[in-house]
Symmetry: C2
Subunit: 402 residues, 2 copies
């Protein structure tokens, strides 16, 4: 665990945090996190599109529709997924309990869970955790809250940005967890983006909508989409600026900062991908359409063969070209260029890596590099960030029963 309690960590005005242990994790580590805004905050949210949704996601969707939140109650160690009506009742009961202690409307408490699925979430334990968490809320508690969110994460993910809006200094900060879909049964990507800026509801929804495709929706660890994935964006307005609207002069700057922050968090999740040793940026351009570009980028980002080749440091393009070929996108293989960073390894459909083998091998051996495909067939572009598939990934995900 690289996030130690007491480590320097961000603060955002008007938010307090807590992280406590209530006994869900056998290790005894923190497993309950609470994030509270001093005042109700505007909320924009995005949840997993998996048909099988965890109880907290079902409740979160319902509450987020109203566009406001004041607290986020998270537990790790148990996903409260595939737990039927009891699971929903438990999530309602726990958020109601938190609301009572915080003296706020229960509808303003958004629940999240991550961890093992198919096991009832022990109500009494988490209830006691909520009691502790409310007592320990503090403006400098973000690192503890992060710990309370983590499952198999090797490190907590947080990032922040500062900018001026309407003459006021405002902050945006994000806490995230995720490291692939994880042991013991699966896990989850959770991200909470907090700002003290005042932002109108449509502006906030637009920021989230614009930022997701290139951040959390552009990352692939193993291609498995969890039952619990949740991204929440809260704006509590404590900074005192006039509320940003999509037409405000400063809207673009705010949206750009939020996007950049979310990309940074998303990249950290890939970097922490289970067993991952590399982060590969996949850029596709020249596709007939954006959809076709995404098809090619997704096929490569998910292909076990490409991902083991990344692991092995293979500078050859065969597997990549093959994955592009079966992606469902239409293109002329005879016009394809492929690059490792700025070194062309395929030109107009012909493998030329032999001529640049040393340079290409040097790039393929790096921890991070960019793999670019130019299909020369249109203006569609897409980007993905993926990890390599390693021996440790398999060990990790197959051995948890022992």
């Amino acid at each position: 665990m690289k996030v130690a309690v007491g480590e320097p960590c961000f603060r955002v005005r008007g938010y307090r945090y807590a992280g406590v242990a209530c006994g869900l994790k056998e290790s005894g580590k923190r497993d309950v996190a609470l994030i509270v805004s001093d005042v109700p905050a505007r909320l924009a949210a995005s949840f997993t599109t998996n048909v099988v949704k965890a109880a907290p996601v079902l409740i979160g969707q319902e509450r987020a529709a109203r566009g406001w939140a004041q607290a986020i109650l998270v537990n790790s160690g148990n996903a409260n997924a595939y737990t039927g009506r009891d699971g929903i009742a438990t999530a309602r009961l726990l958020t109601r309990h938190a609301a009572r202690l915080l003296k706020i409307d229960p509808e303003l408490v958004i629940p999240s869970s991550t961890g093992r699925i198919g096991c009832p979430l022990p109500r009494q334990r988490v209830r006691a955790g909520v009691d502790d968490a409310v007592r320990q809320l503090a403006a400098d508690g973000a690192a503890r809250a992060l710990e309370g969110m983590m499952t198999t994460d090797a490190f907590g993910k947080f990032a922040s940005r500062r900018l001026r809006i309407d003459g006021r200094e405002v902050e945006i900060a994000g806490l995230a967890k995720g490291a692939g879909m994880i042991a013991p049964h699966m896990a989850t990507m959770l991200a909470y983006i907090l700002t003290d800026a005042a932002v109108s509801a449509p502006a906030l929804r637009r920021v989230l909508k614009e930022a997701l495709p290139s951040s959390f929706n552009a990352i692939v660890v193993d291609g498995d989409m969890s039952t619990n994935d949740t991204v929440l964006l809260l704006a509590n307005g404590v900074a005192g600026n006039r509320a940003l609207t999509p037409r405000s002069r400063d809207f673009r700057g705010f949206a750009a900062a939020a996007t950049d922050l979310m990309r940074e968090l998303a990249r950290m999740i890939v970097k922490d991908g289970e067993g991952a040793t590399k982060v590969i940026d996949i850029a596709v351009r020249g596709a007939r359409s954006q959809r076709d570009a995404e098809r090619v980028a997704d096929a490569i980002a998910r292909s076990p063969l490409c991902k083991t080749a990344f692991y092995g440091g293979d500078p050859y393009a065969g597997r990549v070209v093959c994955a592009a070929g079966y992606s469902g996108a239409r293109f002329d293989p005879g016009r394809l260029d492929v690059y490792l960073d700025d070194v062309a390894i395929v030109r107009r459909g012909v493998e030329v890596v032999r001529k640049v083998e040393r340079a290409a091998a040097r790039i393929a051996a790096r921890d991070e590099y960019c793999l670019t495909l130019d299909l020369h067939g249109g203006r569609g572009t897409a980007r993905r960030v993926t990890s390599d598939l390693t021996v440790d990934y398999v060990r990790f995900n197959s051995d948890y029963r022992t």
Copy 2:
């Protein structure tokens, strides 16, 4: 290599085989195979749907459209893929050379290649291999031909069936290679099904079309579809029966035998999946449509998390339910049943494995078992056969550069 020359092997009347080494494989193993029918045979064929098609596939498609073949010329060690116009010229030249030696029409020679992609296929070497192969053609040469087709296969795949049609005894036999998309760059599934029955062109196409969905199109090793995949079904009519048509009394029996044979070969490919230790049959029923059933089965068969769970012998359904959830199929998670063989681990959306943990763990520890999902939402069904994802798969596919 478990297929030794001289091992007992099938014969089918009117076919001869050869397998020789021409130096494409550094190991010095056989790398050219030739299969020849004494007379032109009716042909039905299926090729990869990958946009990037190897040279032999492009030529094979063209020739197969005429519905006849008399020889199959295969090389391993080099896929002749992503080799541009030169690759196509090479494949034409080599099949023309074989045709000349065999004294048959070059259009009746179907080429196949498997092995490394992006490298020119050395013409002179393979040409010399063809010379040797033609000299060594023999009715009992199938095991040698199989060797000549193999790349990373741990064993050769062959199977045969015998049945009576129109009062005559006829034989169907199949040779196949494939073990996932493979080192050095990728490899391929090749399968040649030979029969001495007389079968009309529409009947033969129908047999292939009916057999593929439950055989070669139902298997998943890593979900990567090669540039070279080829299935050929030849019927040379030497058995002397009246040509089977789709209306013949014996058509169903013949189609069933061919399907069964192809399933057996396909299953062997999964069993030989790189690093695989298990073969899992995935059966989905009760989907809203067949397409939805296939979506669920494919998502599970391809999920790295499910496949590492199979490897680890995990009897829990969390990852499986999750993969079904993101498959794109619509279903009510609250009605889902999941079985390991005949033991229910999820009933009506509730994980019940704890009550049957011993029995479930015993099944999950087996080399082969069936995972069944009943969505209780319609009449759509699908089956897939998949392997587990193991530490050896990753080692194998990442280490080939060393």
